[in-house]
Symmetry: C2
């Protein structure tokens, strides 16, 4: 993996994700959520498998957070699977969106939506550097947001409010990136309204 792009969090970030409402009405749940989210500060493309958003870190998390809570507020069992990345070697399409400021377009609405959520995530810092201390410290920081933190095979588990979980994920992703200048990848699985009544608080 090469490392030829500009460093710092002004670099373009992205997330390829899917939202899976476990209901016969899944199309309307997805389209309804998308309609309520302002995506004008990100490059976005949807195909039949997933959606890709690219732009500043702040807006990538703002948009994915908003899409998830708007889908989950329907009360249906909704899962989110995504991979966040920054520093991925490749093209520069979408870089124009880096000119946007950091004012989040969806936060005012999103923060009014309470949604107990279970999360499993894993961080993969590519390239040289010892990031483990940074990751360990940042995972502890997530607990300060009122989120329960635990471990499972291959992942860290978070249980709490969706908005707090997204805030924690953005923090650990940003700090890991800032601690070096390479390719950082984070996989995230979220589950809301699971009938098993585990997850969330």
């Amino acid at each position: 993996m090469s490392n030829q792009q500009a460093c710092g969090t002004s670099q373009i970030a992205g997330c390829r994700f899917s939202v899976h409402p476990m209901t016969d009405d899944f199309v309307n749940v997805i389209l309804g959520a998308l309609e309520e989210v302002d995506t004008s500060k990100v490059w976005m493309e949807t195909d039949d498998v997933s959606t890709c958003v690219r732009g500043r870190i702040s807006h990538i998390f703002d948009v994915t957070n908003a899409i998830f809570v708007h889908a989950a507020k329907t009360g249906k069992h909704v899962a989110f699977s995504g991979t966040f990345s920054i520093g991925c070697p490749g093209d520069t399409e979408g870089d124009v969106y880096l000119a946007e400021d950091d004012v989040r377009l969806n936060e005012d609405v999103t923060k009014t939506i309470e949604q107990p959520t279970a999360c499993q995530f894993a961080l993969y810092p590519m390239g040289d550097g010892d990031y483990m201390d940074v990751i360990y410290h940042q995972v502890q920081e997530i607990a300060k947001l009122g989120v329960d933190v635990s471990s499972v095979h291959y992942a860290t588990r978070l249980d709490g409010e969706a908005n707090d979980i997204f805030k924690g994920l953005e923090q650990v992703f940003t700090k890991t990136k800032e601690s070096g200048c390479s390719h950082t990848v984070m996989t995230v699985s979220l589950s809301a309204n699971s009938p098993s009544h585990k997850g969330g608080k």
Copy 2:
């Protein structure tokens, strides 16, 4: 990421994955698929967010392939999101399953199920080494299985039969691992029976 475990493909591999049937009847689709799959050669644990299987590479792919096609054969729109990994620093729980032979328990049934599928996957070889040539070559090999190969942001796209796609994924994962001795991670998203009628053949 340390690299303290035994090398080679006799090392324990794992996959943390979720199957998401987009139907009100999602519980029965998942349970029905699980009932038809023989998981006796893998360590397996399911929680409310995902399922983790661990053991030999052959059985990890045999079991995930089987669960996916048994869920998808219902005709419902089914998505699979998972992360395959090998060489992950950590505990040794489940290592007893490495004593199993490579005879696949589900292949005879799975291979009778035709299921057009769309896939997006990404490989992340952690640690030192130049794996890009290996990955590039192995992705070309997948095309020889009769699978269409293309690129999207952050991922490689595969369109074809589910069983061929799983075979291709296992090949590229194994060869990447064999080319070095470190921590290899592969994210996989699969989609079957999407109403958009894209994906598959």
